[in-house]
Amino acid sequence: MKITQEEVAHVAMLARLELSAKEKEEIAGQLNDILEYVDKLNRLDTTDVPPTMHVLPLVNVFREDEPRPCLPREEVLANAPEVEDGMFRIPPVIE
């Protein structure tokens, strides 16, 4: 597997990261090194090994459906740069 600079640019766009041409080149190289290293695992025969979906030895951790107090609204909005009518005021997003 080879990561191209275009793929780096695509992932950077999805993560809203701005990368210079030099950074793209650098990161593509680093990602390829990582993939190459992990690729060693492909030498193992994993035919009878179930895929690991989760690393913790736990399943079925649940909560009961019982309401508990929420955060007071002053605290909810305390760090918001702008507030209007009890809501977070944010840059316009129109689909």
Binding site: M13, N60, E64, D65, D85
Partner: protein, 480 residues
Amino acid sequence: MSQYETVIGLEVHVELATKTKIFCSCPTDFGSAPNTNVCPVCLAMPGTLPVLNKKAVEYAIKAALALNCPIPSYAKFDRKNYFYPDLPKAYQISQYDLPLAVNGYLEIECDGVKRRIGINRVHLEEDAGKLVHSEFGDYSLADYNRGGVPLIEIVTEPDLRSPVEAKAFLEKLKSIMLYTGVSDVKMEEGSLRCDANISLRPAGADYFGVRTEIKNMNSFRAVQRGLEYEEQRHLEILSAGGELVQETRRWDEDKGVTYAMRSKEEAEDYRYFPDPDLVPVIVDEAWVEEIRKSLPEMPEERRQRYMAEWGLSSYDAEVITASKAMADFFEAVMADYHDAKTAANWMMGEIAKHLNAAGIEINESRLTPAHLLELLKLVDEGTISGKIAKTVFAEVFASGKMPAEIVKEKGLVQITDEDAIAAIVDRVIKENPKPVTDYREGKAKALGFLVGQVMKLSRGKANPELANRLLRERLDSQQD
């Protein structure tokens, strides 16, 4: 349309009726003041961890069982990554490759034809917050009360063949969700939302045409209209030899058209991956059976029972069982009443009429089975006529008072005294020489008019059979 076949698939989101959110203990109440049902978990504060609501899992499985889905033993949660401020985490916790349920079906009946619509999957996910956009589009406001409310997403196979079928499917689905009690299914509160995919292909083809997805349809009627519009648009383009573009379009209810939504520069890429904060869900057979046992009798089973037990027609039984609240009401009445057909006629007639006019469900009205029972008995005992019963019912519906009380208050007791009716009959005969002559000359229709006059003079209170008999007796005997 003969040349083309329409192919439709639906994606339906149903909000579950849990008391709390899917991953935190905030209440799910609709209509609370903005940002009052939120906590560090659903606001995505750093260091918080989600913990799954067991009830949400049970409701989702219950809904899936009602949709005839087998329940796989292993399910997990995944992160769907996207940047949009309706979700403060910048990802939605959903299910990707191992959902709670797959491969079900729902049977629908449309124009007398029964069809089985495949359910591809039922998965559990969290709802997003609500964004309000300012009038001039210069800013937006975010309210996270709805963020984290549990949803099930139900995805059908592309098995629907017309907009009318799509609507029939949604109605059936709503009925089933109400029966199972997993959701209150209020479209106006957004607890059921539907997106639709539509494409056209040459009739009989085994491939699919280019599809478009329609969003923002806020009622079942809108789903049908939106699909009809798209169907026509596809047909026009294809008939003219044009090519469709695969895109997402927004339904404009007021204008009755769809528009292409601004397409994203790059194809959607959600980079799903297993959520490391949530452990897998193992659903063993015992748990599934326990949930299956909690399922109530479904509309189809009830329909069969009403036909067998009470001799209702298939149509009547279908109409009554479509809503669980109506069917429960009907059964409560029938526990104490003998004539199913009469009770059914009231349910589908006056009761449905008043409920529709008020825009409410029967369990939201003041009407109780005791009201209808008393009314039916008043008619059966001859205290009031069927016509007066309708007047009394309107009053019962509006005020919640018992029918006997209204009959007494308004003096609506039927006149069954022969002498009293005879006096009115004599007056009618005297005052209407022309219809009387007509009747005697063989125009049977004139009798109806004369009976009507007797009813009118008695202000609807004369026993109609008695009035009819007395009129005939007098008209026929005086003929010589």
